[in-house]
Amino acid sequence: MSFSLARLAAMMIKEFVQMRRDRMTFGMMVGIPLLQLLLFGYAINSDPKHLPTAILDADHGPVGRSVVAAMQASRYFDVTSMPGDEARADEILARGEAQFVVTIPVDFSRRVLRGERPQMVVEADATDPAATANALGVLEHIALHAADRDLAGPHAGLRQGAAPFDLVVHRRYNPEGETAFNIVPGLMGVVLTMTMVIMTCLAVTRERERGTMESLLAMPLTPMEVMLGKILPYIAVGYVQVAFILGVAKLLFAVPMVGSLVLLSLVTIVFIAANLAVGFTFSTIAGNQLQAVQMGFFFFLPSILLSGFMFPFRGMPEWAQVIGEALPLTHFLRIVRGILLKGSPWGDIALDVGAMVLFTAVAGAIAIKRYRMTLD
């Protein structure tokens, strides 16, 4: 029996009708993106202040004291400890007791006054870049003017131009030092992964659980018609979600959108299809709707943890990166961030798109192969 567009349309219309009647699924489609946006969006909007700061002051001079005072005054930094040596300072940072360690070297004040521009090193725990970004921005400003009072009289000339000392910032634990804008574009991929896999999987297992599979199988439908009929309506749903998230990202969080939205929408089809194929494959394994949801989470967890959404990809151990590379979300995150934040053209994302296409093809082939035309 050859593929028939009319039968595919029949399947799709049926799915849309059922989707409309299913409050639960409908709630999931709107609720999940909304909830996640608000949760993560709150994290983005928050501008954490009073971050614990350790000062390693080997100078004990006036300029260092002025800088520290200015930092405190900015309210972004709270000096919580004064470690005696570097080892202790490292320990404090590693344990998360302080977000920043500011090291003021020996002779700092004297060398500033001599106009030698000594270095002041700030180490930041940047595991959560959103938490440190603003504080570090403020620090640049402080460096410019903190020493103004000390640079009086004969030293007044040093007030002009660049800061009188060299502010060196080391972002630790997060070499990419990514900004908070990463999160909302990333959220698009996360929401799609979560909803698309579970929804297709449910759409198929529901037929089995309710016994409607028997009628469906007795009808002259090919596996391809059933699969596409189940998947295509959810691509439409996925697009509604994408539009919703992008809209909120733009209006509420002012996420920059540098690149081509057309390119992004095209690539998003591949990503949605990849997840739907996974959902369909799961549905051929899951016996009931509960198992379907469990399997969805089984896929969702590594996706969210190893894709670079939660933790910077390059900061992960190699084995985790290998797993991450196999997940469509990893590639989609790179693409979305690339297009939205850096304005990546097609050439820059082609490899990641290729990886997603490959994933979709493999998952789709497994799904079709596993889909049985009989009840046993």
């Binding site: 029996m1 028939s4 009319a6 039968r7 349309a9 029949a10 399947m11 219309i13 049926k14 009708v17 059922q18 009647r21 299913d22 309710r210 016994g211 409607t212 599979m213 028997e214 009628s215 199988l217 007795a218 009808m219 002259p220 439908l221 090919t222 035309m373 009989t374 009840l375 046993d376």
Partner: protein, 301 residues
């Protein structure tokens, strides 16, 4: 006359249990074949194999001249299957369910055909009602409407009248005869004995084995049973009658007890010996089925 269904040695196993064991069945075109048997005897399993819903473990056969092993897709296009349990979409309306079936089957002039079928089944005023909200009898009508929309040549109905009131059953059978008159072949499973009388032929299955096939008269004659009617309702009497070696089945019927056994002479002698008021009567289908089941090695009493 050609056969709409012709299978030999049809076998189905679930794990190491043989649920349908080497069934041979032929249904002539345009006939109504009743498929009888107790619960769990393999009726549903057999029907599912006929329309390609279950993998076949043994045997060969054709439906509508198409090999059931290799051409299930084509069989599905020309057959209508009404499942034992309602299996249409309860979250869709009557109209939406029919529209879906019509689209999948590529029915020409869809809207009109759906309307006509609603009309024919008396479902027009329930068109916008959710299928899940219908009562049993209406669900059954909807299910039947959905499986005849595409004018199949073969109808497979799995216990379509279970749990339906007598009036609705009557109407249902009138429809079935209407379909047969239009040339459809019908295989209908049931465990109502009276429905067997409405079929052109019956097949009786128990423990996965086909025990007898033929018209009701042939089946009854073929069993070679004799029957008798004894006056009395006393449970003690019934127990005593049942224990007679010549009696295969004893059924209390109002003021009398209906008996059947394979040997007319022995039955008469035994009854005379008891000095009861009795007379001979015709054996019925139920006698035959009980006798066949008891005589079967797996059903030994």
């Amino acid at each position: 006359m050609t056969a709409a269904i012709a299978v030999t040695g049809l076998t189905k196993r679930f794990g190491n249990r043989t649920v349908v064991d080497a069934i041979d069945l032929t249904v002539a075109e345009g006939r109504i074949m009743g498929f009888l048997g107790p619960n769990g005897s393999g009726k549903t399993t057999t029907i599912r194999m006929l329309c390609g819903l279950l993998h076949i473990d043994g045997g060969t056969g054709e439906c509508l001249g198409l090999d059931i092993r290799t051409r299930a897709a084509e069989i599905k296009r020309q057959a209508g299957y009404m499942t034992q349990r309602f299996s249409l979409y309860e979250d869709m309306t009557v109209g939406e369910n029919l529209d879906f079936a019509a689209r999948v089957h590529g029915v020409k002039d869809r809207a009109r055909r759906v309307d006509a079928s609603l009309e024919r089944m008396g479902l027009t005023h329930r068109r916008d009602q959710l299928a899940g909200e219908l009562s049993g009898g209406w669900k059954q009508r909807l299910a039947l409407a959905a499986c005849i929309l595409h004018r199949p040549r073969l109808l497979l109905l799995d216990e379509p009248t279970a749990g339906v009131d007598p009036q609705a059953r009557r109407e249902f059978w009138e429809r079935i005869h209407g379909f047969a008159a239009e040339g459809m072949t019908v295989l209908v499973s049931t465990h109502y004995m009276d429905e067997a009388e409405r079929c052109h032929a019956i097949a009786y299955i128990a423990y996965g084995h086909l025990l007898t096939v033929g018209t009701v008269a042939e089946v009854v004659a073929g069993a070679g049973l004799s029957a008798a009617s004894v006056a009395g309702v006393d449970p003690e009497l019934v127990a005593k009658l049942k224990s007679l070696p010549s009696v295969a089945t004893a059924t209390a019927m109002g003021a009398r007890v209906h008996l059947a056994g394979p040997d007319a002479g022995a039955l008469g002698r035994d009854l005379d010996g008891l000095h009861v008021d009795w007379h001979a009567e015709d054996p019925n289908l139920e006698d035959v089925f009980i006798h066949l089941m008891a005589a079967h090695p797996e059903g030994g009493r």
